[in-house]
Symmetry: C3
Subunit: 504 residues, 3 copies
């Protein structure tokens, strides 16, 4: 009896402890950015305008990215017919955890342990960090408990932040749309965990599929991701590069959508479209153009990248996912390898190739703004001039080819972090029984961790009857009606799985 109560308390307790911890650490480390603080003096007249300027500059794109995280990812994962509550609900839980935790970890790493400030740009980078863990969630969808995902998030965000720091600050690689640091990391981190947790029972599940309406909810996610991807790839770009990143992503996605329909029909024996491809592969162009989105790839270059990504991703869903599952024992619920993994590697390569051809003929002085390590090492006359007008500072005098090599190193380091980190976290999940690994009939099933209402009105009318008559005295709230439904039958099994009882 005591162990049941302890088991029941472990989730709320963990969250409560984390939330208290966050409050304390925020009090110690974090203050408002100057543009979100009142001016110190009574007559300051310039600083006070900058708050509004920050909001005008970043807020609209921030909200687009925000919608991508919660509506985009949340609904995209709703395709499973019995896992909709978990998809959108746990997505929200994970993202809210990421937001708080990555603000803290990212700030501490970038400021080497000093106190730091938050602003709308840290809101953006926190949302980006969330994206990587939500991609990881896609690989694990339906196969992990909420508490396991909390652990994945806590470790994942630290790994993400350290890897990003190495990539951006140490290696000085560039990745405006986060294809390497967000997508490649998130996908392969998740796939490695999925490999470690491999369980043949998952393949037996009869619930890993969609119904008509669950596919329609999923497509809500697809389209919001597709629409707002230009914001994701350009939110942190500047000046002409931002405008260019918007254009390149827009064209890459348009081509990707078209070609996905073509390949989906081509590889089907009946020539029909597969909704799985449309829901996912249409987005691969946004990933594949991510690293080079702000570079001079020209509109036709964006079309080529988008088209190739569509082919890669659609064929991935058709051939690679079954191969990974049957041969390598990597089960990839949402096919994140096809939507995020392979297109992200493609993005890293496309970025390196584009960087290798970058010069001042193409970029003018903005070469040194986009690739700061390529700026001359020592202060020249020209550089002094540029610094005065454009705040461009001395770099490391890298050649374009050297920068390209550093881009590739950043990609390899990212994959290394994902694999080693995923191995570690996967083993932790596997051997820490307390976290409550689902099993048997509990895969891909909301009733593992939610009270689930009946599916249809006809069912509900019958249910309503029963629940009402039996529960009318104690509690007539909606949840009572639902629990009446779920309680019948397989509750014991579900319960023990949720509570992490490995004897069942």
């Amino acid at each position: 009896m005591v162990s049941v109560w302890l088991s029941k308390l472990k989730f709320p307790l963990t969250i409560a402890i984390l939330q208290v911890l966050f409050i304390i650490l925020y009090a110690v480390f974090i203050d408002y950015d100057a543009t979100a603080s009142p001016p110190k003096t009574m007559t300051n007249s310039t600083q006070e305008e900058s708050g509004a300027a920050m909001v005008h500059k970043y807020y609209a794109m921030f909200q687009d990215v925000h919608v991508m995280m919660f509506i985009g990812f949340g609904f995209l994962m709703m395709f499973l017919r019995r896992y909709g509550f978990s998809s959108v609900g746990l997505n929200m839980l994970i993202a809210a955890l990421c937001i708080q935790w990555s603000t803290l970890i990212g700030g501490i790493i970038h400021h080497h342990g000093d106190t730091f400030t938050v602003s709308i740009t840290t809101m953006l980078t926190s949302d980006f960090a969330s994206a990587s863990i939500l991609i990881t969630f896609g690989a694990l969808l339906g196969k992990t408990s909420p508490l396991q995902m909390v652990l994945v998030t806590m470790f994942g965000i630290v790994l993400f932040a350290v890897n990003e720091y190495i990539g951006l600050v140490v290696l000085r690689a560039v990745d405006v749309g986060g294809s390497m640091f967000v997508h490649a990391f998130g996908a392969y981190f998740g796939l490695t965990i999925s490999r470690v947790l491999y369980n043949a029972e998952v393949e037996q599940s009869k619930k890993e599929n969609s119904v008509y309406h669950s596919d329609m909810f999923a497509v809500v996610g697809t389209i919001f991701l597709w629409l707002f991807w230009p914001s994701f790839n350009s939110a942190l770009a500047v000046e002409d590069a931002q405008h260019r990143a918007v254009l390149n992503t827009y064209y890459a996605l348009a081509a990707c959508c078209l070609v996905t329909f073509a390949i989906s029909s081509l590889v089907d024996k009946d020539g029909k479209f597969d909704m799985v491809h449309i829901q996912n592969a249409t987005l691969a162009g946004g990933v594949a153009v991510g690293t080079s989105a702000d570079m001079m790839i020209r509109p036709y270059g964006a079309l080529i990248i988008g088209s190739v990504a569509a082919v890669l991703s659609t064929l991935g869903y058709k051939y690679v996912t079954p191969f990974l599952k049957s041969k390598l024992k990597i089960h990839d619920t949402c096919g994140v390898n096809n939507l995020h993994g392979m297109p992200a590697i493609m993005a890293g390569l496309a970025g390196a190739i584009t960087v290798a051809m970058a010069d001042t003929d193409n970029y003018g002085f903005t070469l040194y703004r986009q690739f700061p390590a390529m700026a001359p090492e020592e202060s020249t006359q020209e550089l002094a001039e540029l610094n005065k007008v454009h705040q461009i500072e001395a770099g490391q005098g890298r050649s374009a080819k050297e920068q390209a090599v550093f881009q590739l190193i950043a990609l390899v380091v990212t994959l290394g972090f994902a694999l080693v980190g995923g191995l570690f976290v996967g083993l932790l999940l596997k051997f820490c029984k307390l976290l409550g690994q689902p099993s048997g009939d509990n895969f891909f099933d909301d009733s593992l961790s939610w009270h689930v209402p009946p599916e249809s009105n006809s069912e509900a009318s019958l249910e309503g009857h029963g629940a009402n008559s039996s529960a009318s005295k104690a509690d007539t709230s909606r949840s009572a009606l639902f629990s009446g439904h779920v309680d019948k039958g397989d509750m014991t099994l579900e319960e023990s799985a949720f509570l992490g009882d490995d004897k069942v």
Copy 2:
């Protein structure tokens, strides 16, 4: 026969009369703001730029708030399994009525009966006014006729506007996110009406619950509200305060989401999550931080407010709602007391406490911009300087503690307006039989006022058959197919309820 026709005409006639009235009153009272009007002279070069500036400054956040009103509230209320059309449809009807009516009433009150102008900021304040009535609708959902809601809206908007005028202009209280004037007013106005209309038959209804997909539609509303709440709380804030309001709301909501999951699991006997909590209590942080969103509460303060709001709101759904229903005969369909009422009172208190600690050490000169009544009463040297640079005017020289007291008075006045106004409107609804109070089997049922199609494809195939064969000559439009479905069986009863025939 004549009375049937009169009954059938009362809804369209009421709306038609109102719309004609609006057109006349708009023609008499309203013109475009200067920034939406061409310059008077042929060579004016400054004014003409301000139109674009207004749009750039407010439009993105206005659209976020607009989405909250129509998608957010509309879908959040879709959880009821047989009331989806009414939830989203009547939400739209009410909001469109509010927009037109509150533009008029708000303008007339604030300009003391003079003609006045409209701009994108009046669009924002009209949307805020709508929010309060949509909250009221949440308390009454499924228990009122469309015509009753029109009456609630017409009176509600007047009460809202008068109360807001007293709070903002007479008492000079501040409430950037409208937690007191919008949320507290809307919730307790609705709950009072619900108390007056209390009908034991409502408790017998077997339709006040959700099905799997209706809960998924509801969560669309939840997430858009959650995402765009920072816009709601900061749209009308200025400069550094706007940036701060965005940050505070973002952090409050992140903490609120996390803690809601913890408490939802904690209070459940199986340790499972309840979708009702996730759909609603995750948003309480946005309400609770509303009054103090633009104040110097620091990020950890926002986390605390969000966390406490989550506890309050989730426990409210679990324990307060059943108590209100069984003991106080207040039936609260959407639990607006938990999502809007109690968190709004908390917001008012948190605001008053924060105001009591406000000084120029924290706020610099912006103290007098955020709390205008605290500016020195007479023109000092310093004030003259501030006025020149920041357009800050002489106030009433209130101390921080005095301002805090005025904040509390505004909260009490708001609650008074809600209770007295709700009592009056509730009695009107109760005794004006003509408005068509639903009863018996008509609660929580779309078919009271909509033609409802069959629920599933298998049903539809059967229906389609019948309808087609019986109605093929006269009218083969979609609506004919639906009415074929609804006509069978309980139509007589529904009809009479809709037409307000109190003999049934």
Copy 3:
């Protein structure tokens, strides 16, 4: 056997050829706008800021319009109970094709065959062009194959671009919300094609109706369209006119929504609302105010236009659609005549009337900015002054009444293009059997071109069983499960229709 393979390849091959063609033509014709390109010189300091300015100025409204195209139109058409995948999926396919093709065709026409540049404003105009073809799709929904729609798109965009060029550049008509060039063209182009393709079998279909949840998905589209319509009507307006266009559209839609509810109830024998009206006619105000949105119609004028549009559109759904179908053999699946066609003609007339009353008393110098052809023909002293400050150039010295006549000519020319173009494209579709005209049981049915999962969980559980046991060795991906479902029964018939085999 060979012919089967050729039939199966025709869709992917067509798309592949088009995409390669686009890549080549983009490489030849298109480069980034100057504001999306790095400055040519190393020390340029002004141009580089304009990229950010362009993004800030247009991006938020562009994204609103983008959401309207993909979520708005895509979901609005989801009402059909068995055609949801096609509605949202083919909508996406068509829009992605439109974006690429109209960027090219529009640029080539406007630059008379020279190379040209793209920017966020060409992204906007491409999305507007998409709108017209998506409206056309609404008229044809459920009655055409994907390949037929590709052909409709390719021709439709060319017709659209030529007509718009004639209207805007040759006739110098104004149409800020594209009511004539986008809505009237799209609607009557589609209706003409529908007339040519008329097939009595369509009327026999038992699938042209909605179920409860499909109607809820559709209303997602409705509301996003309703919310963002002010962006559609004002995105390309300038200064005070943009602010005014936002206000006018907002008020027109609010009135339109209210009056639609009134008329929907009025014309129903039971006094109930019809969801078809709410989904569609509430939007007619946005179309009807489109041409005059940026003009001085004053807020009450906007209310009048919105109210009249609601009456026109709702009565259209009730009486005109059945009449067109039964008497004129024009089957209009989405009722685009009521939502786009008639309100667009009304918009053109309202625009012409408003223009006829325009003078410098109302518009000041902006008269010549809004109606450039009305500027004095030769350079006066005043005009030179205006040109210096506001870049206003000499026009043709048209009187207001002359401009009104040109407005009407543009409307007539647009209708001419729609009818003649629709006739041509319709005949092409009718006689080119290779394109795969659906027939018999294939109308309004996703399974014509999609693998469709089971509808409900109970069905899926049974399905999952069978599919799993029979397909477990070869391929256990989601698509395998679906195809297992669809394969049973009517596959042969569907297949042949999809493959365009006209013997069946």
